[in-house]
Symmetry: C2
Subunit: 94 residues, 2 copies
DNA sequence: GGGGTATTTAGAAAAATTTCTAAATACCCC
DNA sequence: GGGGTATTTAGAAATTTTTCTAAATACCCC
């Protein structure tokens, strides 16, 4: 189960908020950090976890590292959840 | 955000496995425990967390407490995830 | 190359989670 | 009521997670 990591990653409020920020588009580590009252080191720690869970990926540009959402993994999670639902969810959408 | 609790609850592998067991139907605390190598006290701890997250509910019968899935909360989670997806997921299903 | 900014890594402290043992409740049934 | 089983609660130990500070990397641009 690779999504043990994904669920772990999603379990932290800070990381979920990071994902929501990235919903609007790529942001640099610094820009992400500016939304929180934590050191850059801590943000970097959270980004690493999101990265390992494949929920985000980075692209380097100039002196910055930009992060963006990787939505593909989210579908696996949705599938697992809808599976619990007895396959009886919106996902199956008549 | 009430689903901070839900995500936390889903982040543990034991608890996810409990949910999968319950997918097939209600089980008593003892029956659930028999699937794991942990004390009943530990299982009880996990059940409490799942209960607080509204992912399961109990019904008492005779000398047993039966647990079963509560799928309604799962939909909120799915909505949050599909929201990240830019609303661009199977859920919206055009 | 060298100063400057952006980000990460290392290591330790603080906080939260998971697990256990032992004891307490709760309920059944004779 | 009382013995018996099922489950939970309390408290402590072990483990994991989150956070910080300080230092290290990485890359830019003059």
């Amino acid at each position: 189960m690779a999504f043990a990591e994904t669920f772990k990653a999603l379990s932290d409020p800070v990381r979920r908020q990071i994902l929501e920020l990235l919903k609007k588009g790529p942001l640099s580590a610094g820009e992400i950090g500016s939304h929180f009252e934590m050191t850059g080191a801590t943000i970097s720690y959270h980004l690493k976890i999101l990265k390992k869970a494949d929920l985000i990926f980075e692209s380097r540009e100039k002196n910055f590292i930009y992060y963006q959402l990787n939505t593909s993994v989210l579908e696996e999670i949705m599938l697992w959840i809808s599976g619990l639902n007895g396959g009886n969810s919106d996902v199956e959408s008549k």
